[in-house]
Symmetry: C2
Subunit: 201 residues, 2 copies
């Protein structure tokens, strides 16, 4: 389908932008018009930033985070707690935890979760690397911060089993009522989990 009548250069740009999550053909067209209006201030810098990122950004060979350096800034930072490794599914989860600012240890990005439906098996994830890291000198705790769904739980169980040989404590982030959450609007699963995990005051 032709998106516009402005020649192949613009068509190609619209097609590529429409493949970004959150953008469809209509918003991609609007984005292209915006980019052309802001050519010097936005379009040229964006082309350069994409080019630089494409050439410099790679997964950290240790933890799977993405960065311009390898090992990544977090793995290389002497200020981070070396005794804790927090296991997340995706880099986006790592970013979310970093924004929260409550964790000062290191990470391990699995690159997904086990899923029979999608055919994701243990070998497709960075689990071997995690087991190796768990046996390193000074690592005492592996914190599982996986999504609270079936695949996340399955993956958590698998990792728990895989880490049985290592001398580490394996913990999982808490399930419960989100901050600001009103009970009336929460699903049964969350309420049940919050009740089961109740704490003495």
């Amino acid at each position: 389908m032709s998106h516009s009548s402005a020649g192949p250069e613009i068509e190609r740009l619209i097609t590529l932008l429409a493949r970004l999550p959150g953008l469809g053909p209509r918003s991609a067209r609007r984005a292209v018009l915006h980019l052309i209006r802001k050519k010097a201030a936005l379009m040229v810098p964006l082309a350069e930033a994409l080019d630089i990122a494409a050439r410099q950004i790679n997964p950290c060979s240790q933890c799977g985070n993405i960065d311009a350096s390898d090992p990544c800034t977090i793995c290389a930072s002497p200020g981070r707690d070396q005794s804790r490794i927090c296991v997340v599914e995706q880099v986006g989860d790592l970013w979310a935890l970093e924004r929260a600012g409550a964790y000062r240890g290191r990470y391990h990005v699995l690159g997904g979760v086990l899923s029979a439906l999608d055919g994701v098996r243990p070998d497709d994830l960075r689990i071997g690397g995690l087991v190796a890291r768990a046996s390193e000198e000074g690592v005492s705790e592996i914190i599982l911060a996986l999504n609270a769904n079936v695949d996340g739980q399955t993956t958590g169980h698998y990792i728990f089993d895989a880490l049985k040989g290592a001398d580490v404590q394996v913990t999982s982030i808490a399930r419960g009522v989100p901050v600001g959450g009103e009970l009336d609007y929460l699903d049964d699963g969350t309420l049940t989990a919050a009740l089961v995990a109740r704490k003495q005051l």
Copy 2:
């Protein structure tokens, strides 16, 4: 504010993408992760397409459309009806009319509408060029296809007055019930316009 913890290259990319219409900080982060996962298939081609478009795409000096050639493909096409010029506010409106495929004349892109609030005056728009084109040999009709709001109407009246010296018919696209529109859901203005513009069957 820091968007991630993945270094300045990614921060910059997120900041730039978040400035596109339809994307905010959250969706820009998701887009960047998607781009890095699809580096060869999407990120590199997008960087190239932006670079090519930034270097080659410019406004048509005749009609204000954007294209890699000047005059643009539409202005230069001998197959287009040379007697009609359709006036639109933005290039996106031109694209919308081209997608509809019901018009085979040429266009004139104003680059906006008159707006006291936003301080847009006649000199800020491509109105002088339109008046000049209206006086060209063979041009017989100027079709106003402006948005159906106050600024669009004000601009339409101004152009109508400016074209009084030219020997052309000035028309405006019809206001009425949109195709598929149900009366119960339409605003009063549209219903009034549709009633006023009623046609004999």
